[in-house]
Symmetry: C2
Subunit: 366 residues, 2 copies
Amino acid sequence: MASRGQEIADKLTKVGESVLKDIDDGKNPSVDITMRTLSNVYFDEKTGLIRLGDEKQKRYYFNLGQAKKFLQTMLIAKQIKILLEQNKPALSIRQLFYTLKHEIPGAGENTFDIQEESDPIIEDVELMTDSLREELNLIATPNGVLAGPMVVEDKTGDVLDFTRMGSAGGAVPPIVEDDFFHIKEMSADYILVVEKYAVWNLLNQEKYWKKNNCLLLTGKGQPARAERRLLARFGAEYKIPIYVFTDMDPWGYYIYSVYKSGSINLAFFSEKAACPRAKYLGLSVKDVRDFDIPKSSWVKLNDEDYKRMEEIAGYPWFKKEKWQNELADLKKFGYKIEQDALVSKSIEFTANNYLPTKIENKDWFD
Amino acid sequence: MASRGQEIADKLTKVGESVLKDIDDGKNPSVDITMRTLSNVYFDEKTGLIRLGDEKQKRYYFNLGQAKKFLQTMLIAKQIKILLEQNKPALSIRQLFYTLKHEIPGAGENTFDIQEESDPIIEDVELMTDSLREELNLIATPNGVLAGPMVVEDKTGDVLDFTRMGSAGGAVPPIVEDDFFHIKEMSADYILVVEKYAVWNLLNQEKYWKKNNCLLLTGKGQPARAERRLLARFGAEYKIPIYVFTDMDPWGYYIYSVYKSGSINLAFFSEKAACPRAKYLGLSVKDVRDFDIPKSSWVKLNDEDYKRMEEIAGYPWFKKEKWQNELADLKKFGYKIEQDALVSKSIEFTANNYLPTKIENKDWFD
């Protein structure tokens, strides 16, 4: 077991011991649960992260509404501890659910009936142990690919050179913690995150990452946990600039903010999987004139876009003047533009003109 | 340009020349379009493929309802030819749309307004040239990963050893044609396609592919074009068995059938991207008793499942007795089971017991 796994197992042992002590003391056994309600989520301006507060609640065994949840909490904590100690392979949260779902003998009832019961308790255990789900040996499906001057030693022992990953690029693995995905060499001058696969693929074909000595990553739209965590590691471990390039629409802006500051519904994860240093490279309304993006590639904003723009404008992490201006400019402009649309200038325009110009002119904001 | 690209460009030149000849002859210029209506799709029992028939229609220039489509057909054929001849990078069909969308001078109208106009015409051009979209240098986003004893020389020159791809496995590239993804070595004893990423990931962690000397592929649910085409290549180029392992529900069965026989809405693609040799390994209703799969992991079939089972039972490629029996058994059983659920036996059960037993006993059907 990795030392981090041992640490977590020890924390879980302490949780169990505290419950046993409650029993020995004749008290109602309980565990502390950190609240994940909206009221306990806040944007921390100092760090630029969406964070979870300290509000806690006790979950009791002798409580009609909590008894089953208490049992389920013990089952999940125990199972995670066992799997860590036995060095078992990582499971998905659905697989973990299946390892625990069974009839309670004599009770005529199951430990768990649906996965919606086990998922929030896994988050409880993450918080109890101050660890990421991935450190509990639980995974979510990754989607991203990347290419560029980085060499990684994988947990399997394989050495992965991301300059030699062919047309596909290297796949992001489900767990990117250092003991699984140890970055041995990183010589990129900057990291460029591209929202869409088609744009990443075009840049990869043009060897953009080679010509510009950068690392090129896409999460294929809204990023999964692994891509977010990987970018957070890059942000924390390397002092190179990090740029995010998305569609010019509220959905693209929001994807940028997830990479940079995290998300509300995964506020606890956000602290460890956000990259506050990330800058927004574009597309921005200002680019339309600067780069003379032809009108034929503009798409009228629809009602849903306007509604989403309003919502985003209200998020504390979009309160900076630059972002309020961008959102106001977009509203005034009345059109959205996809990153793909830059091919209407020329197929090489994104790689040879747009991106280098933006980066050279430091034409980004955050 | 690759010789296949030259071949396609030559075919497109002929299409253009035939239109010019129509004009010279004073005839109404036209092109032949293969019908893609349901009536022109059939299941070919001999090959086991869902295929497109020969029904054709003429698309005329001097026809009020067809003039714009005729123009669009010429634009797309021309653009594809240019991109092939200039050795341009491959584009997504959305990017191709953007390269062509512009105002027609003086007409106050665009060449294309929405992508729904260009997509079907790309299919027309595929059929005109008897080529895959990927051979026209157009891509769809791939999702799959694979691991096992195969070495590929990629178009980039990179040599990819799929036994050394780390925890992530090797990503499937968007184009898997031989000149992009040249398989240099393949020493697998069989190929195992796994529906879900979480199951693939578990097997990969357990080095299933190493212990069993097989190639392990997942398309992450419903496969994209690249994974289907790659499996078709494996089926055609290697004489090793190919097994598909999915959920025991109509959706899993259908995914198997897409890999094996293709799909109706991509009937033309199916001919080149199906693998009629593929066998269904499981999960099958028979497995429930054979492997004593615990009741706690069964999930009641719902109305949508029953409806889908009816539909599937009616498809000609599910008409074989074995499949009709499987569908009848599932209906009678009343429950579905996910592949993930096998961890309820033990985490190692899938790799160490279920799969080897099924394969050793030749316990598959098709």
